[in-house]
């Protein structure tokens, strides 16, 4: 086994171990305070506070544990491939395989945390529910939802083009196997988002005893769905980036003279970087983690905006 492969495997193992430890320790109050700042809702008093902290800790345990398990599965796959000689000494495929396992594992863990949760209502307590059905578009900023769908489709399309066009495989940013794995992981994550996101994250009922509890339930549902979106975006974006460069290079060498080819490749790189910066700025300005608040609890969002302006 090459030193590079060994280093990558050790790093992936450390990441998996760290996540497993995080899953066991799962801090309570500090984590809740962080979520509270992110989702724009003040932490309530007990007993609701304790209930929320337990739910967050449970989700963290499942997502971190499943992410660690995903990374371990990825590492096991790499070790098997390395032992059979399918991975070359300088091949970086392993790290992407472990990365895809980690991201996909985290998304599946978020769904499992909900599926395995027991629900019960306190007898004699009032219950509050929304008079309108829960929809994906109420919990996810369209820029994230559409972005995830488009990126996953682009990831698959890029991979298919890369595999179908041998000339494109002469310039390699990552191996076609790595690109295929990332695109496949993105497509699987999209299916998890579209199916499990609707059926499990939105469909699963949780009884709320007050509007504050209902608002927090919305916040945590949105957080769970955003975790699934992140899995799609993280895996598919890498598939697109790694796939687009060889394709652009092969296309450029067909259409452009050598002198212009490097200019075009550099230009494509800068365009991609600029797009990444624009997305980063947009996501900072739009605060997608608080989209649900503006959509479902506009009064609370307005109150929060006023308080932020005063600070």
């Amino acid at each position: 086994m090459s030193p590079l492969l060994l280093t990558l495997l050790v790093l992936s193992g450390v990441a998996a171990l760290g996540l497993a430890l995080w899953a066991i320790l799962a801090p309570g109050d500090r984590m809740a305070a962080r979520v509270s700042r992110r989702v724009g809702l003040a932490l309530p008093a007990e007993p609701l506070r304790g209930k929320l902290v337990r739910r967050m800790r449970r989700t963290t345990r499942w997502t971190s544990g499943a992410a660690a398990a995903g990374a371990v599965v990825g590492i096991a796959g790499v070790a098997t491939a390395a032992a059979s000689g399918s991975i070359g000494p300088d091949d970086t495929t392993p790290i992407w395989l472990a990365f895809a396992g980690l991201v996909l594992g985290g998304a599946v863990g978020a769904v499992l945390a909900i599926v395995t949760e027991s629900r019960s209502a306190e007898p004699g307590q009032p219950r509050v529910a929304r008079a309108t059905p829960r929809e994906l578009r109420d919990y996810l900023d369209p820029i994230e939802l559409v972005g995830a769908r488009v990126t996953a489709v682009l990831g698959v399309a890029t991979t298919v083009a890369l595999l179908a066009w041998p000339a494109a495989r002469t310039i390699q940013v990552a191996t076609p196997v790595a690109v295929t794995l990332l695109a496949a992981a993105g497509a699987v994550a999209l299916v998890v988002l579209e199916v499990a996101g609707r059926r499990v994250v939105l469909g699963r009922s949780r009884i709320s005893e007050s509007p504050a509890e209902l608002a927090w339930d919305d916040a945590l549902r949105s957080d769970d769905l955003r975790r699934l979106v992140t899995a799609v975006l993280m895996t598919s974006t890498y598939a697109v980036i790694f796939g687009v460069f060889p394709l652009a290079g092969a296309l450029g060498s067909l259409l452009l003279p050598d002198a212009l080819l490097m200019v075009a490749v550099n230009l494509a790189f800068y365009v991609l970087m600029a797009a990444a910066v624009v997305i980063l700025v947009l996501s900072t300005v739009r605060k997608p983690a608080r989209f649900y608040l503006r959509r479902l609890w506009p009064e609370v969002a307005a109150q929060e905006a006023r308080a932020a302006a005063e600070r």
């Binding site: 007898p123 009032p126 509050v128 008079a131 059905p133 009922s205 209902l214």
Partner: protein
Amino acid sequence: MTLLTVDPTAPTPPFEQLRAQLLSQMREGALPAGARLPTVRQLAADLGVAPGTVARAYKELEAAGAIETRGRNGTVVAWSPDAGERRVQELAAQLAAAAREHALSPDRVRAIVEAALTPIE
């Protein structure tokens, strides 16, 4: 904010609490005509009540012409400010048909309707 509350300890039955709140939100415009309502199963699970409770509230609202069930599109709000008048017109047409069937004179029907309206006035 279109929230529904069910208090299991209240003297009013849960289905009636739901029916009244939904109707009041329709009248106030919080649930406009065409707005979708959650499925019976979803709302029952969210409120921790039996599906039959929600089904009964929906059934009564449907009978009053306030909501409509549109197959795969689910249950939607059909209430509008003139919904009550339209409903009375429909019932009046049925009354007229029944009166003809039983050969009741228009004067007799008017008398019956007036008698029925007396407690309302």
